[in-house]
């Protein structure tokens, strides 16, 4: 559904942001994009809904070119985006007004806006906070609100740009839980992060460094084959464990490892054959 061809991007000050990116994202895919700060991952995803225009190359969403301004509205309806800072993307004075902001822009009838707002808030578990102001919501709750706002747009694809990096570990877990739920509901997810453990269960992972895609493949192959340290990334302990288990001839099914608990169970069930 998303096709990126030979995309290069130079910042207004002349610095090169992206070099020759080629990428296809299929409908229904969960794509993880990882890389250290300044690797170009946020710059890349800002091309997916036309916030940035390619200096060279082409980005098309369902066949619509993002460089054509007349496509922008449709593109932004197709690709939603949730950003890092929960406070600056909260534009309403209350939670429900914020979630309603997108559907209001689409000039939907009030009854439909109401329905979308209620449903989106239910998905993220904030239905009891409708009239709260951003001041009375925690960081995690605000980020959930941002997710609800994107959901209310009913877009085919949602891009999550480092949504957990400003949160404490508890809210991070809360947000991750919602993403897991969404995987079944939203058709396509692009998840940007610098924490590898957040994309362990992605369908595909790409590692970016200095504006280029340096590794691409399933989480298993990417995390095993490449040395993430080279790109300023840290392997999560659970992956290190899996890798060393596998090095001892004990192969586990990565697809089943939806959580640490599952991993423990898998090891337990193996009957200590290591």
């Amino acid at each position: 559904m998303i096709r990126i061809e030979d995309l290069s991007y130079d910042f207004p000050d002349g610095a090169q942001g992206l070099k020759q990116i080629n990428l296809k994202i299929e409908r229904g895919e969960f794509l993880g994009i990882v890389g250290r700060n300044g690797s170009g991952k946020s710059t890349l995803v800002r091309h997916l809904n036309g916030l940035l225009k390619p200096t060279e190359g082409k980005v098309s969403i369902n066949g619509m070119d993002t460089a054509d301004p007349s496509n922008l509205l449709k593109i932004r309806q197709t690709v939603g985006m949730v950003f890092q800072n929960p406070y600056t993307q909260f534009v309403g004075t209350t939670l429900e007004e914020d979630v309603a902001f997108g559907p209001e822009n689409l000039a939907l009838p009030p009854e439909e806006i109401r329905e979308r707002v209620d449903r989106a808030l239910e998905v993220v578990g904030l239905e009891n906070f409708k009239n709260h102001s951003p001041k009375t919501l925690s960081g995690g709750q605000s980020q959930c609100a941002a997710i609800a706002s994107a959901l209310a747009m009913k877009s085919e694809c949602i891009v999550f740009d480092e949504i957990s990096s400003m949160l404490d570990s508890r809210s991070r877990e809360q947000v991750r839980e919602i993403i897991r739920k969404l995987r079944k509901k939203v058709r396509t997810i692009v998840y940007v992060t610098h924490r590898l453990e957040e994309v362990l269960y992605a369908d595909r992972v790409i590692i970016m460094d200095r504006g280029e895609i340096v590794r691409e493949g399933s989480p298993k192959t990417v995390f095993k084959a490449s040395d993430p340290g080279k790109f300023g990334l840290e392997l999560p302990p659970v992956v290190e464990l899996l890798n060393s288990l596998e090095a001892r001839g004990f192969a586990l099914d990565w697809a089943r490892l939806a959580s640490i608990e599952n991993l423990a169970e898998e090891i337990w069930e193996s009957g200590w054959k290591i």
């Binding site: 800002r46 809904n49 916030l51 509205l73 932004r76 309806q77 939603g80 985006m81 950003f83 800072n85 406070y87 600056t88 993307q89 909260f90 534009v91 309403g92 004075t93 209350t94 429900e96 007004e97 309603a100 902001f101 997108g102 559907p103 209001e104 822009n105 689409l106 000039a107 939907l108 009838p109 009030p110 806006i113 109401r114 707002v117 951003p134 001041k135 941002a146 706002s149 994107a150 747009m153």
Partner: protein
């Protein structure tokens, strides 16, 4: 820094339930009456009407009076200015500044006027959510040919609601930056001019950066400043027409007497 002036007070009174447009019209109409009124008797009537509305709204009078407090100095200044600058019969003959009876009367009238205007405005904001006020203003502006000026009523409404939304963040940022600069040894007491620069520059920088992020978030959610709808679409009820009728009758009567 919890400033409670001009805040919304939750409630379900008759006044709370009125359409924001009705209330905006009422405040405008009453302001004109307040400004036109030259006699203390008329002022008294307008004050009684205010007290009646406050009673209906269920908002505590002391809460509304607090809204006037930040401007008390200004009102006092107006009073003094009128007291001393108006020509007429002196109360006490002083060589330079002479207070006069005419000045006393005019000063008292003007102070009452300003105070009452603020109180009516405070009653509006106490009984109407900021977003509803914005909504109401947007609907009132919609028929105007604003697009010739390059804006739409929706743009103006969004600007207003964003200001309401981000003003507290702005103040919070200012406080954070002030604390950070104080921690770095900024001396506000002896060098105020440098102190202000040291706070203003980072504050402006941070605000511009946040504004960019806000823009990105708004654009990503299809904001284009053109026709929008609202979760709370406004509809005039029988109650609103009745309220406007009462207001109209009151105004006519007031002007006739």
């Amino acid at each position: 820094m919890p400033e409670t002036a001009f805040n919304y007070v939750y409630g379900d009174s008759l006044l709370h339930r009125l359409d924001p447009r009705t209330k905006l019209a009422a405040v405008m109409c009453l302001s004109i009456l307040v400004f036109r009124e030259e006699s203390f008797a008329g002022m008294g009537l307008l004050i009684s009407f205010f007290l009646l509305l406050t009673g209906i709204s269920g908002v505590r009078l002391s809460f509304l009076l607090r809204s006037v407090r930040p401007l008390l100095f200004f009102i006092f200044f107006i009073f003094c200015f009128q007291l001393f600058s108006t020509k007429g019969t002196p109360i006490i003959p002083l060589p330079v500044l002479t207070p006069t009876y005419e000045g006393l009367r005019l000063g008292a009238l003007l102070s009452l006027r300003f105070g009452l205007l603020l109180l009516y405005a405070a009653l509006l904001t106490a009984s109407t959510l900021p977003s509803q006020i914005t909504n109401g203003i947007e609907r009132l502006l919609r028929p105007l040919p604003l697009r010739h000026l390059g804006v739409t009523s929706f743009d103006l409404a969004t600007m207003m609601s964003l200001s309401i939304r981000f003003l507290p963040s702005f103040l919070e940022n200012a406080a954070t930056i002030r604390a950070a600069q104080l921690a770095r040894g900024l001396d506000l007491r002896h060098d105020l001019r440098r102190g202000i620069t040291a706070i203003a520059v980072p504050l402006i920088k941070r605000s511009v950066l946040s504004a960019e992020e806000v823009t990105e978030a708004m654009e990503s959610r299809c904001y284009q400043g053109q026709c929008r709808t609202s979760l709370h679409e406004l509809r005039m009820q029988k109650l609103d027409w009745a309220a406007l009728l009462v207001l109209g009758a009151f105004s006519l009567l007031f002007l006739a007497v």
